[in-house]
């Protein structure tokens, strides 16, 4: 017997590629350290998740909703530091985060 798939209407959901493996990612996924909302949901200011409310990857390995972090950096009290570890915030481009593999930067530090 030969089975030919003519058409497959599949259902999937997307996740941000934070570089972590699926196992450590867990089912629930990580939350933004600022707004405590899941990465795949959107920051409090946004209404639509995904490309309209992207993540921002820090050199310090911390990931936030971009809007959340920019807002934080915008406040005087922030001193342009990562809110998690008070290191000076440096942005890692998503491209870099993806191509180098975020886990690598994790293990580096």
């Amino acid at each position: 017997m030969k089975v030919t798939i003519k058409n497959w209407h599949a259902i999937a959901y997307w996740r941000w590629d934070t570089g972590k493996e699926d196992e450590e990612d867990g089912e629930e996924g990580d939350v933004c350290g600022i707004c405590r909302v899941a990465f795949e949901a959107c920051c409090p200011a946004c209404k639509v998740p995904g490309d309209d409310c992207p993540l921002i990857y820090g050199e310090c390995t911390h990931v936030f909703h971009m809007h959340c972090l920019l807002k934080w950096i915008g406040t005087a009290a922030s001193n342009s530091q990562c809110p998690m570890d008070r290191r000076t915030w440096g942005k890692l481009s998503p491209r870099a985060a993806a191509s180098y593999g975020y886990c690598q930067s994790l293990t580096c530090l």
């Binding site: 017997m1 030969k2 089975v3 030919t4 798939i5 003519k6 058409n7 497959w8 209407h9 599949a10 259902i11 999937a12 959901y13 997307w14 996740r15 941000w16 590629d17 899941a38 795949e40 949901a41 209404k47 639509v48 998740p49 995904g50 490309d51 992207p54 993540l55 998503p94 491209r95 985060a97 993806a98």
Partner: protein
């Protein structure tokens, strides 16, 4: 010992008597032919004495036996000697003595009448008999009536006309009439009223009776009889009987024309019938003896108003009895509603309407046998109907409350409402009219003190009642529940189910859903439906992404990629798609990551549908199946024989029942068969009867995507909370409800009230998990 005062009195009396005698003397001189006062009195009373009209000789007496001039003189004398009361007394006494003659005659007629009974055939005859009795009575009345001439002594006493009071005649005849009537009424047997009624009824609707003809065959004019009735004072006496005839006719008319006739208002028609039939009849009966136009008018308005009231009342009663069915028939029953509205304004039956409709609703609607959809439909109709009958909505408020309470208890109410909101394809008639303007949900507003159009609440409004502007149906339905969140949640579930079922290229259906959601946004507000908007956006984004990826590397996989935080919880599954399926998934995921470098795809492999072509040795099958089925058949393409356990293991971990169900799909199609227990084998060549099966439409159970319903989600959540409660009680022994509530508030997503928690704990107690003592809860060990 006579005092001087007494003495004066006596002398005055004496003078008076003397004067009287002198006056009598003067009379004598005036009428020398006449003897004296006592003779005059005798003559006059003799003249007036009632006689038996059956006696011919006596009948002629007034004309023959008396010299009319003598009689007149005698009357004048009696009058001038102020003895008229005495004469009247004698006359009435005479009448009393002779009245047995009339009684005898009445009895004779009535006995014949009663023997005939009420049989229909005899009715005409009876009526005739009755009519004869009445005219006979009238004859008696006329015969005994004091002749008018007796009181008008004209020619011989011309000189005294000025002193004879003109009221003499009327005084006499008045007294006579009164006394005659009194005696007559006492003499009439109860069956007389019946006869009277029959006659009145005949007169109102002669067509109901056989034509009335006299013995000679000529039709009888019955109208005259009413004049006789009037003269005898019977109309007044039997007015209630006449009214009852009219009432019965009204009732019968309504009974005949109105029940189940709801399309047009019947009230105007019945009023028309009243003017054509009842009013002329009323005129005939009541207007005898009333001369002035003004009197007639006032008389008729009084009686007419009573009849009109009766029309209203009877019709109102009828419509109230029919109200449930009228509501069922809405909008084909607008006429009946109009009737009800108008009659309720005349008749105070609003309480009855509410009571009856509530009873009827309890009996016919609010029971487990009725569909929620049906109840909602009826509720919506009730709203519309009662808004017509009573625009302020007091009736509605009273009737609707039990329905709303009942609906609140039904588990699937929200789903039904939401289903009809989005225009579910299955349910034929939608709750909402298409032409109803879409408007935002109305929130209960605080009272506007500056409202110039303000009116007080209707008098029968309860304290809870709030006048509100007529709101649209959806607002009313949504307001059954305290918050609209429940609706939004249910809406998400429904939308998720429908969206996931949509095949990739079917943009029309997505557009339809989008239109629905846009409409609902107007009602529920943008914010509440934001989640739904995201779901729809996912649909279009998936399409766009897919188009792009297909452009790069064509694939048969067309996934819908969802933002799972914005979708209702989907059932989890651990299926691993075997063989080529897995390969395709991986390829596609890779392409996706290339297109969206910062995202990755996670498959929900148990959802969706697969369109397959199976090439077997002797046949080719073209089927649409769920993924699990596809996975199994893929496995069979690797090896012909599989046991159930092997299959389950090969696709990861699936529910045994789900696996059996998937396999039975294929067995039904004749592709595999169960050889031994739990061992399945592929049928490369169709077995006998396989064609038969093929004939049957191949339909792979297109079950709705397993989206968790709101209840399931809540149960899921409660399970989490239960873990907390269990932990708390294990550590702390026993706790009060308030403590548990306070502590639970710290846990994420906890939004229950203390009351809801109480219900939950109570349920757990019934399950035997908890015990409660003095308000302290602890685990049941």
């Amino acid at each position: 010992m006579a005092t001087s005062a007494l003495r004066t009195q006596v002398s005055v009396k004496y003078a008076e008597s003397l004067e009287k005698l002198l006056a009598a003397d003067k009379e004598k001189r005036l009428n020398p032919g006449l003897l004296n006062y006592s003779q005059a009195l005798t003559l006059a009373s003799e003249y007036l004495r009632p006689y038996d009209i059956k006696d011919r000789a006596a009948m002629m007496r007034p004309r023959t036996a008396f010299n009319i001039n003598d009689v007149r003189t005698a009357f004048a004398m009696v009058h001038f000697s102020h003895q008229l009361p005495a004469l009247t007394e004698i006359f009435l006494e005479d009448m009393r003595k002779s009245f047995h003659l009339i009684e005898y005659e009445i009895n004779a007629y009535m006995t014949r009448y009663e023997i005939n009974g009420c049989r229909r055939l005899r009715e005409t005859k009876n009526l005739e008999l009755f009519r004869m009795l009445v005219s006979r009575l009238h004859d008696w009345f006329k015969a005994w009536h004091p002749p008018t001439e007796c009181a008008s002594p004209d020619s011989p006493s011309q000189t005294h006309t000025d002193v004879i009071p003109p009221s003499l005649s009327s005084f006499f005849s008045g007294t006579y009439t009164l006394s005659f009537q009194t005696r007559l009424f006492a003499a009439l047997p109860p069956s007389f009223a019946r006869g009277f009624k029959a006659l009145a009824s005949w007169c109102l609707a002669p067509e109901d009776y056989p034509p009335m003809v006299s013995a000679s065959g000529a039709p009888i004019k019955i109208d005259a009889v009413w004049t006789e009735f009037e003269k005898l004072g019977l109309i007044e006496r039997y007015e209630s009987v006449i009214s009852s005839v009219a009432y019965e006719h009204i009732e019968r008319r309504i009974e005949e024309t109105c029940p189940n006739n709801w399309a047009v208002p019947m009230l105007p028609e019945i009023r028309e019938w009243m003017t054509q039939k009842v009013v002329p009849w009323m005129l005939k009966i009541f207007t005898h003896g009333v001369t002035s136009r003004h009197d007639t008018q006032s008389l008729l308005t009084g009686i007419g108003a009573r009849f009109d009231f009766h029309v209203n009342k009877v019709l109102c009663d009828l419509r109230i009895k029919e109200i449930f069915n009228i509501i069922v028939d809405y909008p084909d029953s607008l006429g009946a509603l109009q009737d009800l509205k108008e009659t309720l304004q005349r008749v105070d039956q609003r309480g009855d309407l509410v009571k009856f409709l509530r009873k009827e609703n309890n009996k016919r609607l609010l029971h487990p046998g009725a569909d929620t959809q049906t109840i909602l439909q009826q509720y919506v109709s009730t709203i519309k109907c009662l808004r017509i009958v009573d625009p302020p909505g007091v009736l509605l408020y009273k009737v609707a409350n039990p329905i709303r309470q009942y609906l609140r208890e039904r588990p699937d109410t929200i789903r039904c409402i939401v289903g009809s909101l989005v225009g579910d394809d299955e349910s034929g008639d939608s709750l909402v009219d298409d032409d109803e303007p879409i408007q935002p949900l109305q929130q209960p507003e605080s009272e506007d003190y500056g409202d110039l159009e303000w009116n007080p609440e209707p008098i029968d409004a309860g304290p809870e009642f709030k006048t509100n502007k007529p709101s649209d149906v959806i607002s009313t339905l949504v307001s059954i529940y305290d918050s609209k969140d429940l609706f939004v949640k249910e809406l998400q579930v429904l939308l998720a189910q429908r969206l996931l079922a949509i095949d990739d290229n079917d943009t029309a259906r997505v557009d339809k859903e989008r239109r629905n959601i846009e409409i609902l946004k107007i009602r529920f507000g943008d914010a509440a439906l934001q989640v739904c908007a995201v779901m729809l956006k996912d649909m279009t984004d998936s399409k766009r992404t897919d188009d792009h990826i297909q452009g790069q590397t064509p694939s048969v996989v067309h996934p819908t990629v969802i933002s799972h935080h914005f979708w209702p919880t989907l059932d989890q599954s651990d299926i691993v798609m075997p063989g080529q399926f897995q390969q395709m998934q991986e390829d596609y995921a890779k392409q996706f990551s290339v297109f969206k470098p910062d995202k990755k795809l996670k498959w929900l492999p148990h959802l969706g549908t697969v369109h397959l072509e199976l090439e077997l040795q002797d046949r080719t099958l073209d089927v649409d199946v769920p993924p699990l089925e596809a996975a199994f058949i893929e496995l069979f393409s690797q090896k012909d024989t599989w046991s159930l356990e092997e299959l389950i293991k090969a696709v990861g971990n699936v529910d045994r029942s789900a696996a059996v169900k998937a396999l039975s799909t294929w067995t039904n199609m004749g592709v595999i068969k169960e050889q031994n227990e739990n061992t399945f084998v592929l049928l490369e060549q169709a077995e006998d009867g396989a064609e038969m099966r093929e004939m049957a439409p191949i339909q792979a159970a297109p079950s709705l995507p397993p989206v968790q319903t709101v209840q399931q989600q809540e149960a899921e959540q409660m399970r989490v909370h239960w873990k907390f409660i269990e932990g708390m009680l294990t550590n702390l022994g026993s706790l009060s409800l308030d403590r548990i509530q306070t502590m639970l508030r710290f846990s994420p997503n906890y939004d229950k009230t203390a009351e809801q928690l109480g219900y939950f704990l109570e349920a757990a107690r019934r399950e035997g998990l908890l015990v409660v003592q003095n308000g302290m809860w602890r685990l049941n060990k």
